[in-house]
């Protein structure tokens, strides 16, 4: 951004004439040498070059002067006429040439953060896995964890990426079919065969234990084989394929503990090894061990009982022991008997042995399942989304693999995969395929590589002429699609965005797409990522109120507090409300637990519902229990923290940090310092070094003293003193209580809108804002104002901005 020499000289002249004398008079005393207050120096700007590099300092100076925060109030104040030209000049300079091109800045290559990784895997593979939950936490820059500069890479992360790719693809590709193969079942009771048919309506009744604590004797069920024999059906097999045969049976072993064995025959030939029926298994189904190939057409399927007595032996045995003559009293242990609380005694099985001493068998039915071949239509969405081709008689494995790889990589890289990339991926596939692994395994291997490649893990925006003094350029449609989808959904673009990008139509359809995306449930990501970080809501998971002092606090309340704020934020997005509702909405969301905490009657159950709030106590974010709790200490409220929270998060007027080596405020436990919280804080402000900031913070925090450290309403503090909720804003505006505080902030709507716009733009871009971004935020704030401060107006204007749609080929180092 090097200005022409003449212009630079002119600028320096102006500065030297207009601004520097003002700084010298009002600022240099504290900010004019190496001992500068807070390390902030204005004296370093002393020539053309240092002026060019001093934009950060000037921007800060502008903000402080414009907000009347500097000079400190106990110092001589400049006349309005004195400060106005300085502000004018600074504003003009900081915004850059108002008619010139806007510098869109340059976003550092961004690694997907944890939320983005989870959501991208979800949308790419149609699985719900959240593998990134176990990744190390991402660092924050400028308040958000999507900042390219601080999202670093480390071996531990790389290990996690490798493992996650493995697990995610395993789940997606090697899933169980959601539609099982067709199943044909037959009842055994009435099938044709060589043993007597049974009553198909016979049902299980609970048997009484036999005399002497023996087993429950079976009430017969299904087909009873007292001796060896077979039953069969004739079946039209629909198509050639592999099938599984299964028998549902129970049995009683013989005297030698030999268990009943059955076998399937197809057209009279045994098709697999015999199956042993284990008698003590309940509701047992016994699969044939192997899939068997069957051709289409009619086949006789026979089930044979192999190791029973012969019919003659059975008849002979019956003659010897007529008491067991009734077939219904045949000694077969009922597999459905409920023996949970009454185990058969030892020797029970012996008592149940058939009179022949050979095993006996009961067959409830048998099944033919198949064809077993996995066809895509039977597989879950995750499988179909990846396996978009299958080898067949007309498609070679390599052709199918290439189609899959091309399709997958283009979505994972969020842009069309290049031919050279495909060629390298296919080389990897060919190597995997050459060792004879199944097709899905070779695909799995190559797709794992896609999921750990930089084109997936990073959001790449390549400069057209890297390394050269490339200027500003417009992002291509694919890059823009990713910026949009990661901004609003924290995930990859969907098919509609990809389609528009492919047609080159995205830039032309941005407003409609933004509206569509905000309406999509995936925009809940804005709450989870932007909202929770802007409001510091993530800290709710870690707050630990002192349960001795606040016995009311429990986990359901912690969850409810967080949920309330999330639902409230989401309502503003979904209903496209004015962002001023964040400050002073008259509604919120409660469930029974939270309603009790708030003293709202008539709410029952765990579900949240929207309620209208009576005027006075609560309304907007500021009086939600979540915010009030996370700005408190475990044992008491902190007007300082609450005030600081308001200044930082609602007014973008964060007070400077405490000066080094001067202790922060003594935040007393109850009795150490006498007096109310207000009196203690007032004592503290007697120190002028502290007073300059604490007047601002405390003045706001006092107005919230009616809420205790977990956000419950109170009228007395812990020392039983009546709450005094009077406060003042920076600048001196006085108010009393939370309702007046809200109205006061609401009246500063432009300052709030700018604060929110700054934060949202930081989040949208994934970089810290620079002085040259002021023109962008000016435009956003103006657009918000002219559209009733609607949420969508802010988002649309951000998306329209050059900062969002363009990229500077060179980084700027304007900021400190």
């Amino acid at each position: 951004m090097a200005a022409a020499p003449a212009a630079a000289a002119g600028k320096w002249d102006d500065y030297h004439r207009t601004v520097q004398p003002f700084f010298a008079k009002h600022c240099f005393e504290c900010h004019g040498d190496e001992n500068a207050e807070n390390g902030f120096r204005l004296d370093l700007i002393h020539d053309e070059a240092s002026l060019e590099n001093g934009a950060g300092a000037l921007s800060k100076a502008f903000d402080k002067l414009a907000a009347h925060k500097m000079p400190p109030r106990d110092e001589p104040q400049p006349e309005a006429a004195e400060v106005a030209p300085v502000l004018d000049w600074l504003k003009t300079q900081l915004a850059g040439d108002p008619n010139g091109p806007i510098n869109p800045g340059r976003v550092t290559l961004r690694r997907l953060n944890r939320a983005e990784y989870n959501n991208t895997i979800r949308d790419l593979l149609a699985i719900d896995l959240r593998p990134a939950d176990s990744f190390p936490a991402d660092d924050l820059g400028y308040g958000f964890d999507n900042n390219g500069d601080v999202l670093s890479m480390a071996p531990v992360l790389m290990e996690k990426y490798l493992a996650a790719a493995n697990v995610a693809l395993e789940k997606a590709i090697f899933a169980e079919p959601v539609i099982p193969p067709p199943l044909q079942s037959w009842e055994a009771a009435t099938a044709e065969g060589t043993v007597p048919k049974s009553d198909p309506t016979a049902s299980v009744t609970r048997g009484t234990p036999a005399v002497g604590g023996g087993p429950r004797v079976a009430i017969l069920l299904g087909r009873i084989f007292n001796y060896s024999g077979e039953i069969h059906v004739d079946h039209d097999v629909p198509v050639d394929g592999e099938y599984v045969l299964r028998v549902r049976a129970y049995g009683t072993p013989g005297a030698k503990r030999d268990r009943p064995q059955v076998a399937f025959l197809v057209d009279g030939k045994m098709v697999q090894k015999p199956i042993t029926v284990v008698e003590d298994q309940k509701n047992a189904a016994f699969d044939a061990l192997d899939k068997i190939p069957l051709t289409a057409g009619r086949h006789r399927i026979t089930l044979a009982f192999l190791n029973g007595a012969t019919e003659e032996e059975y008849a002979a045995a019956l003659r010897k022991t007529p008491a067991a003559a009734k077939p219904a009293r045949m000694a077969v242990v009922n597999p459905n008997a409920d023996d949970d609380d009454d185990k058969p005694a030892k020797g029970a099985a012996a008592a149940a042995v058939s009179p022949t001493g050979k095993p006996t068998l009961g067959v409830i039915g048998f099944d033919l399942e198949g064809p077993m071949a996995v066809t895509p239509d039977r597989m879950p969405e995750s499988y179909r989304r990846v396996m978009v081709a299958q080898p067949s008689a007309t498609v070679t494995k390599a052709e199918a693999a290439e189609k899959i790889v091309r399709h997958f990589a283009s979505r994972a890289y969020r842009r069309p995969v290049r031919d050279d990339e495909v060629a390298r991926l296919m080389a990897l596939w060919a190597k995997a395929d050459s060792d004879g692994r199944p097709f899905e395994r070779s695909i799995d291997h190559v797709l794992q590589a896609v999921l750990v490649s930089p084109a997936f893990l990073f959001r790449m925006e390549l400069d057209p002429q890297p390394g050269e003094a490339g200027g500003v350029h417009t992002l291509n449609d694919y890059e823009l699609a990713s910026r949009l989808s990661y901004f609003l959904w924290a995930s990859m673009p969907d098919d509609e965005l990809f389609d528009l990008a492919e047609q080159g139509q995205l830039h032309q359809n941005l407003d409609a797409q933004v509206r569509r995306m905000l309406q999509d449930p995936k925009s809940a990501a804005l709450v989870e990522n932007f909202g929770s970080q802007w409001l510091q809501l993530r800290a709710m998971a870690n707050v630990a109120p002192d349960t001795k002092r606040f016995p009311d606090f429990d986990e359901p309340l912690r969850d409810a507090m967080t949920k309330e704020t999330e639902l409230f934020f989401n309502a503003i997005v979904q209903e496209d409300r004015s962002v001023l509702d964040f400050i002073n909405a008259d509604f919120t969301y409660v469930n029974e637990r939270l309603a009790r905490h708030y003293g709202i009657p008539g709410i029952t159950g765990e579900n949240f519902r929207r309620v209208t709030l009576p005027p006075g106590q609560r309304g907007g974010l500021l009086t939600q229990a979540s915010i009030l709790t996370l700005t408190s200490y475990p044992n008491r409220t902190s007007p300082v923290q609450r005030g600081k929270w308001v200044l930082e998060n609602l007014l973008d007027a964060a007070p400077p940090p405490p000066p080094p080596n001067v202790p922060a405020l003594a935040e007393g436990d109850k009795a150490e310092t006498a007096g109310t919280m207000r009196q203690r804080l007032e004592q503290h402000r007697a120190n002028p070094q502290c007073a300059v900031c604490h007047e601002q913070m405390d003045g706001i925090g006092f107005a919230l003293e009616n809420f205790d450290a977990i956000g419950a309403w109170r009228t007395q503090d812990t020392n039983n003193e009546k709450i005094d909720a009077r406060g003042t804003m920076p600048g001196g505006h006085a108010f009393d209580g939370p309702a007046e505080l809200r109205r006061t902030i609401q009246a500063q709507s432009e300052q709030f809108a700018r604060c929110l716009a700054n934060k949202m733009l930081t989040f949208a871009l994934g970089r810290g804002l620079q002085p040259y971004d002021r023109r962008t935020t000016d435009a956003i704030v103006a657009a918000m104002k002219s559209h009733g401060n609607k949420f969508s107006a802010m988002i649309e204007e951000i998306v329209r901005s050059d900062a969002f749609q363009k990229r500077n080929g060179k980084p700027e180092r304007g900021d400190t």
Partner: protein, 459 residues
């Protein structure tokens, strides 16, 4: 020291392909005999380094004894490690000047963690152009990290995701680690004991067939080869900070590749007997944060012990909490936020609470030392004797944020290279001098690091 390392290498080369192995004490006697074996064993008992960090300063009046030398009075905070007093050196008078503002204003906590092992001034930025310096642990890893599966391990307890903003103009990256791989790359720490366990023992199931293992390792290798190639292609097209990010990626992939190479030479080793995979789910969202901390810290210490015991690494950093941590310690009688309470303004009750937190942390240290001392190594000494473990903070008094007269314990004999059991008073000596003295003793000598000016005599 370097002599010993040389002789170790020479000896190992003679042993054939098993050399990349962590030396198993059982392996040596079978191959060598008599005096030769004894010498070899003595030479190869590995020396390790660990840095344990505690934030927000210490209640110094209950830490630093008045007397120097060996007959000093052990102050209350150090009572939990009383039984080890002949094994540690209490060093006072150390200073870390780079944690001071030098014109950068507030932000002492972020500067403290950033400068602790680097001796470098952190650039004041919320994100863009992070800059600090190479840290002592990473410098050591550069020199001796190739000897173990992990060049170094960065462990932690607080993973920072809930801390929200790291204010005062310093990015969270400065608060959340004490390890810096280069002056621009902070190293993320692993705060999940289960994850650490899985990483330590992920070189396969001993029951896995050789064929299956070979295929698995091959698959990983071909994936890494592919992405290295991929990243190399992109790197050429990137500039400025983008390129630096791709460098971080390439470095990470290469490190894993090297690790795989090493692993393929090792037999799959199960965890030692008695080691169990931690059952704490640190990612469970509803669990009370305070409980989680108390459960997590001892588990993380267990992981450190396992890593040393199985020689998966010889270099570990483990901050017990991050600077500016507001963790509460109700189980230690201090149900107050640590950082805010550390600004005690001289108040006796608050200082007593800080002392309780300090004491709790030292109890955890004692737990570590007991475990390390119970494991005997090939040379007959314990891991503790063969190690050098630093325990300290880069803030002296939490109320003043001063970075001089820092609390510091150096535990262990470093394989007989230090003479512990005394209070050593220094006169404003840079902390980094101590780090250099530690590095000397593990065969990773450096001329200088950060603001170092020399060495500290420890023997």
């Amino acid at each position: 020291m370097s002599q010993l390392i040389m002789s170790r290498r020479t000896m190992l080369r003679g042993l054939g392909t098993a050399i990349a192995l962590p030396v198993l004490d059982a392996m040596i006697p079978g191959r060598l005999a008599g005096a030769e074996a004894k010498a070899a064993v003595k030479a190869i008992a590995p020396r390790r380094l660990a840095w344990l960090y505690v934030p927000n300063g210490i209640d110094m009046q209950n830490w630093t004894p008045a007397a120097v030398g060996s007959s000093y009075e052990l102050k209350p905070i150090l009572q939990p490690v009383a039984e080890f007093r002949d094994r540690f050196t209490l060093i006072s008078g150390l200073v870390c000047d780079k944690a001071n503002p030098h014109g950068d204003g507030g932000g002492d906590h972020g500067r403290a963690s950033a400068s602790y092992l680097t001796g470098a001034q952190a650039r004041k930025t919320e994100g863009a152009n992070l800059k600090c310096g190479l840290s002592a642990d990473q410098a050591a890893a550069n020199k001796i990290g190739h000897l173990t599966k992990f060049p170094s391990l960065e462990l932690g307890v607080e993973d920072g995701k809930q801390t929200g903003r790291c204010d005062n103009g310093y990015s969270c990256a400065y608060y959340h680690t004490i390890s810096w791989r280069s002056e621009t790359t902070p190293v993320v720490k692993d705060c999940d004991p289960r994850s650490v366990f899985d990483r330590l023992f992920s070189n396969g199931d001993p029951r896995e067939s050789a064929e299956s293992r070979a295929r698995r390792e091959n698959d990983h290798k071909s994936i890494l080869d592919f992405v290295l190639d991929d990243a190399g292609g992109f790197e050429k097209k990137l500039t400025y900070a983008d390129r630096q990010k791709m460098d971080e990626y390439l470095t990470s992939v290469r490190e894993i590749e090297v690790r795989l190479e090493k692993a393929s030479l090792e037999p799959a080793a199960p965890p030692p007997a008695g080691a169990v995979r931690p059952d704490l789910d640190v990612h469970a969202t509803t669990r009370d944060g305070t409980d989680k901390y108390a459960a997590c810290l001892p588990l993380m210490i267990d992981m450190l012990v396992l890593a040393f015991q199985t020689d998966r690494t010889r270099i570990v950093t483990l901050p017990f909490a991050d600077e500016k941590s507001n963790q509460t310690y109700p189980w230690a009688g201090a149900n107050v936020p640590h950082h805010s309470t550390s600004h005690h303004m001289g108040d006796a009750a608050k200082k007593a609470l800080i002392a309780k937190i300090n004491t709790y942390h030292v109890e955890q240290l004692a737990y570590l030392l007991k475990k390390l001392d119970a494991i005997k190594e090939a040379n007959g000494a314990s891991i503790l004797d063969n190690s050098l473990i630093s325990y300290g903070s880069n803030i002296s008094d939490g109320d003043r944020h001063n970075h001089d007269d820092l609390p510091q314990l150096l535990i262990g004999r470093g394989g007989g290279t230090v003479s512990p059991g005394r209070h050593l008073r220094c006169d404003d000596v840079p902390l980094n001098n101590l780090w250099l003295s530690m590095l000397d003793r593990v065969g990773a000598p450096l001329d200088r690091l950060g603001d170092s000016t020399g060495r500290i005599a420890l023997a």
